[in-house]
């Protein structure tokens, strides 16, 4: 019950913040925290609840980002359609990956997902005629809610908050429902779960598909918010690691964890970038060194993440 209280508190604070805060920087941070938190939560559905650890989730993020951007640039239709198309494409891709790599476990599955995201990266950066290649696509700004050309950052906070709540509720569903319990059984011991008649493969595929769809929606909104899609960024392994890092720091398999992780990761990153970004930009790498160390230390000493650590106190 206490975690629900914390979640209600967290989302209420975020939802009410735009009414009080008008500082563009803070609102911008809030939007990004919610987008990265939602992406981490989406990753958590596959990685935390279903145990399908992927380091290729940027593939789905990139599909969403490109779908939204290309709808605006190539066909001049609403990015909301792009968002839906991206989510559909990503969940189809997720289903194919989940279905085909069902027998792969551990590092094999991880490498397979990396390979998929790399194929999409290369495809997007080489197919010049359609995706504009590696120089990326600027997303046109057309004012209006239907075209997602919104200058007011407060509205953006509420839009991504809606997404964050959906991702959170999907995770709560996995914690409380029969399907969620079955999925946990598959994660802990697939053979035992199979012997009890749990449809392991179908559950895993469904979890990956849902996770992929949410990640694509994050990508579409991110593209519209930032206004530029760069294939080397949206399909990068770094981005996949970022999703998993937030989820692991916050707490694998806990609904609020990824959002807490995103708050921490994004804040520390912004602060360190501000501190060291100016003098010799190569010092920017410092925050990534910190992330790497955090990752090593967390999985070793607190594999349940911050949420698990707090629960034990």
């Amino acid at each position: 019950m206490r975690t629900y209280g914390a979640a209600i508190g967290f989302f209420a604070v975020v939802g009410l913040a735009p009414l009080v805060v008008s500082d563009a920087f803070l609102l911008d941070s809030l939007v990004l925290i919610l987008i990265w938190g939602s992406a981490a939560g989406a990753w958590n559905i596959a990685g935390g609840y279903a145990g399908q650890i992927s380091l290729g989730h940027s593939a789905f993020f990139g599909l969403g980002a490109y779908a939204a951007a290309l709808c605006g640039v190539r066909w001049n239709i609403s990015p909301w359609y792009g968002l839906a198309i991206g989510a559909a494409l990503a969940s189809a891709a997720g289903m194919v990956i989940g279905f085909l790599s069902n027998r792969l476990r551990g590092p094999y599955f991880v490498i397979a997902t990396i390979a998929v995201s790399q194929v999409l990266l290369l495809g997007a950066s080489r197919w010049r005629g359609f995706t504009s290649g590696s120089e990326g696509i600027p997303v046109p700004f057309r004012p209006g809610f239907w075209t997602l050309g919104i200058a007011d950052k407060r509205i953006w906070v509420w839009i991504v908050l809606a997404l964050a709540l959906l991702v959170y509720l999907a995770q709560v569903y996995l914690e409380r429902s029969r399907r969620g319990f079955q999925l946990a059984a598959v994660r802990e011991d697939e053979d035992a779960a199979l012997s009890l008649g749990v449809a392991a493969r179908r559950l895993k595929v469904a979890a990956i598909a849902v996770s992929a769809a949410f990640t694509a929606v994050c990508g579409a909104l991110w593209a519209q918010y930032v206004g530029f899609v760069d294939p080397l960024y949206v399909f990068s392994i770094d981005l996949s690691i970022r999703f998993s890092l937030s989820a692991i720091i916050g707490g694998l398999g806990s609904a609020l964890g990824p959002f807490l992780g995103a708050v921490l990761v994004t804040t520390v990153e912004t602060w360190l970038r501000a501190q060291f970004g100016g003098l010799g930009s190569h010092l920017v790498g410092l925050y990534l060194i910190l992330y790497g160390i955090a990752l090593i230390v967390m999985v070793r000493y607190a594999p349940q993440g911050l949420m698990g650590w707090m629960r034990e106190r």
């Binding site: 194929v119 290369l122 690691i241 790498g285 160390i293």
Partner: protein, 262 residues
Amino acid sequence: MRVVNFAHGEFLMLGMYAAFWAFTLLHADPYLTLIVAVPLFLAVGWGSYALIMRPIVHTSHNVQVFTTVGLSIVLQNLALVLWTGDARFVRTGYYGEVISIGGAVLNVAQAVAFVLAVAATAALFVFMRWSYTGKLMRATAQDRAAAALMGINTDRIYALTWAVGIACVGAAGVLLAPIYAVYPTAGLQFVLIAYIAVVLGGLGNMVGALIAALIVAAVEVIGSYTIGTGWKEVLYLLLFIAILIVRPAGLFGQRGAEALGM
């Protein structure tokens, strides 16, 4: 060891930087550096094992994956912070020289790298196959508990295996430095090919990996010849995904290994 090291490419990158700095600061030829680099990377490997890998070799795959991913991020960005992101080159005196064998024209550095790599692979194969230590390593990989019961110090064997792996990849980095540009993320492009070759050949199968490496190279060359250099990577990544789906154990690996996560 049954641990997939996602930081493998970063040790390769460190090897390339070792060659670069030895060349720039000490004017040491990369092949001279190699003599120092092998024991150096053995030590680096041993140290990284003791510091980071020892506590997690017996834990779940997911912990191992994220630990080595974390190590990879740290090393990559350490290189970025220390040596900036600029691409650097090792321009030896014989940089432009080529030798032609039959109809094929080879860069001297490429030819030397090829000969040394084949020699190293052969030496490693002999070591793993016939030396006592090599047998201990294979026994430990096959069944850790049984190996421990036979009086093998499995922890030391793990450390040694890890260190030998790092020494090999560090040496590979030194050999690649005169051919390719050196930068913090240089390891990634090579390590993807390495994973593909190893999985295609079957994990834990050295001859398989060697044959698979030749297959991957052939696919790469034929691909860039027929459909253009831009798409060759897509081709071998698709080949890799296809292998994982159709025969995850690789061409010469043991069937079912992938389901055990070995």
